[in-house]
Symmetry: C2
Subunit: 441 residues, 2 copies
């Protein structure tokens, strides 16, 4: 459809339909509509809905819409955005638009808050928290607290929990609004749920997801160094963070450096770029495996049959190692183990490796005997290598994430291509050494 | 510490300390305390806190504590648990304890609800939803709704959103309690936030995490086939589900069949068992790679140098394939792509593969020329194989999860060991065919 197809009746109909839609669905639609239609939709949307839709858009579309809107509509839009949404927007838009918004459309009081929020590092708690919350002092009566709620200009979704501080503004806990209404004869202190966990604005956003999971928190309070409440991360945002961190982890494990938000709409070049770095690193480190094979070329030439088992040994080692590292990563994540458990993990993985390795050796020995009719010396060489490979890969897979944690590298980075390469190299070394010994070559 | 070390003063002190702790932390502590101390702690805990702590315990400790408690304490505990918590507990406990609780400690009205909840399949939405919510009809005034809230016996955390239905109990949306207080002159319909998404109790719990992520929902409403509200999944539980599904996905990717909740405390045998199944499957499918190498043994014998590049080619293929499959899995998860996009994914991955492959070929060609001083024919053989490998692996990695989705298998299962094995087999076939052609062997 193009502009000339619109008539007054049609526009009224579209207006009615879209203003009943969910902002997420409107945003999805705007991403794929042609430019001209986007301009029309934007004009037909109610102000509130426009603001909600705007926050769901991808950066390039946010910029496009700011360019479509009139100066007065931009002012309305900026006013309807919460401070944290505004900050997200400012970080995503091109510098010239950001400057324009800051200079002309954000009033002085908000500019201060926005500038403060802009100061927090990327992916920190401070960068995602909302500063729109209601806190009251503990000595208020429920009736007084209720008056504050009645007078509050905040959206109702920010008023589910009312935060309670002492006289020095130190955070004590929160009270549910339903209890304030129901138990007006009690004191706020009696109604208060004390704080299980708080987080600093400078910590990584992942911490919020961890705490929320551990303590079943709906909203996570953010405090400064003196334990004064400065922000909140609401449950909806915790869910977003958990999802994003999950995507990041899973991308790291498969060596994708920068997972883009879109797949089919993203250019193949950009996706290829994100994937290539790790592949090149692996390609270059695979030089090691090449060297080893070169070194043992004579051995291989006199027993070409050995080559047939290289893929199986390498894959078994790689898989065994990845299993160990993902288990250790998730245990690190949930806080069950820490850097202090380094030696416990070695013992644990070694014993798991011995059990798993022995089972695999039995299966493999029978397979080689029955299907391949392999010479017993070859069979024993492969079996012994397999056992050592599994034990070794499990231990390596277990300790690499802990070493990463110690070096303050994301452990998921270790679980990916890197471990495969390390394990491959060592598997080959073990294989050829065992073969030299067993086959007397 | 053992029982004889306790005196009245000491007990009073412990009582004061533990009743100020968070239930999650108390549960953590109970997991590691000796049996005797557990019995003492349990007796010192306030009733409410005992119920909250109980829900956080691992199954074996729940059973232990039920055995420690007196009949009247069990009755109190059961009464303090929400229906959904009670159902979780019943599913975890040994049959004899479950029967005892059902027969003696759960009153008739609750038994009906509990039995209904027990009927939902494992990991379904119905099995995790809470039935404790407040819904009112749309024609009520805010004042009347407020009276219902005042009279409600529900915990305040279940009263953050009040659900609104029409006269036939069909769910329309919800109203925040703060708006009911602030805008008593408006109608509930004016204050209502309409529903963006609902979920059936029979769907997989993962759906809740997806919807909540997509539509930024705090609480996800569960409805029956006539769109009547029958339960709610609160944000805290959505966060738990998202975390559990993440762990499940990441375990699938590395071929761990049944990730246990604990790592260091779990027996090595049990962990080994969960990891062995996939390793055996891979070992057996690796027979394919063995066969292929056997078949081309003569070729390898006359050009042993080719062996040196097998690990690099296999790893590059495996990594490239995993990258594609995790990207496609996360896009399937977020709903950006579906089964209908099968051919789009093939084209996308093929073009990404060509770009990535060409870059890798250049790097590899230079490496072989400079470092290995490889013969040009060998270098060309490896380069061509590498290019085909990358393209091929990307496409396979991209379509396997979609095929899995189509066959109603969890796509993450495809991203793991299976893809490595398939890619390995095909890489070797390509390699040897190219070599026969290029080297004229």
């Amino acid at each position: 459809m193009s502009e000339k197809n619109y008539n007054v009746e049609r526009l009224a109909k579209i207006k009615e339909t879209i203003n009943k839609m969910d902002p997420v669905d409107i945003a999805d639609k705007l991403e794929i509509l042609p430019e001209k239609d986007v301009a029309i939709w934007i004009k037909l949307l109610n102000k509130d809905l426009l603001a909600d839709t705007f926050t769901e858009l991808r950066p390039e579309n946010k910029a496009r819409i700011v360019n479509i809107l009139s100066e007065s509509s931009i002012k309305d839009l900026v006013r309807d955005l919460d401070e944290d949404e505004l900050v997200d927007t400012l970080q995503e838009l091109p510098a010239n638009i950001t400057k324009k918004l800051m200079d002309f459309h954000i009033d002085k009081d908000r500019r201060k808050v926005v500038n403060e929020l802009l100061g927090y590092p990327k992916e920190s708690v401070g960068s995602i928290m909302t500063v729109n919350f209601l806190s009251v002092k503990e000595n208020l009566t429920p009736k007084q607290a209720l008056d504050k709620i009645m007078a509050s200009q905040l959206d109702a979704e920010k008023l589910e929990q009312i935060w309670i501080t002492n006289q020095s503004l130190v955070l004590l806990g929160f009270v549910y609004i339903a209890d304030i209404i129901r138990y007006q004869d009690k004191s706020l202190n009696e109604l208060l749920t004390s704080i299980s966990a708080t987080v600093s604005p400078y910590e990584d956003q992942e911490v919020v997801a961890k705490l929320s999971y551990k303590y079943d928190l709906g909203e996570v309070p953010v405090v400064d160094s003196e334990n004064r409440l400065i922000g909140i991360v609401p449950a909806e945002d915790v869910i977003d963070v958990a999802h994003d961190e999950f995507q990041e982890d899973i991308s790291n494990i498969t060596g994708i450096s920068d997972q883009s938000e879109s797949y089919l709409n993203e250019s193949s070049f950009k996706i290829a770029k994100a994937r290539t770095t790790w592949l090149i690193i692996c390609l270059l480190t695979a030089t090691m495996t090449g060297f080893i094979i070169h070194r043992y070329e004579n051995l291989l030439a006199s027993a070409v049959v050995l080559t047939a088992y290289i893929p199986m040994l390498m894959d078994s080692g790689g898989n065994a190692g990845s299993q160990a590292s993902t288990t250790v990563i998730t245990s690190l994540y949930s806080g069950e183990i820490g850097i202090k458990d380094f030696f416990k993990v070695i013992i644990k993985e070694a014993s798991i490796g011995i059990i798993t390795g022995l089972i695999l050796v039995i299966v493999n020995f029978l397979r080689l005997m029955i299907m391949d009719r392999a010479a017993i010396a070859v069979n024993l060489t492969v079996s012994l290598t397999l056992l050592l490979t599994i034990i070794f890969s499990k231990v390596m897979g277990g300790i690499l994430p802990i070493i990463a944690e110690k070096c303050k590298i994301d452990p998921t980075v270790m679980a990916g291509p890197l471990i495969t390469t390390i394990v491959d190299t060592l598997v080959l070394l073990i294989y050829f050494e065992v073969a030299s010994l067993m086959l007397g070559l």
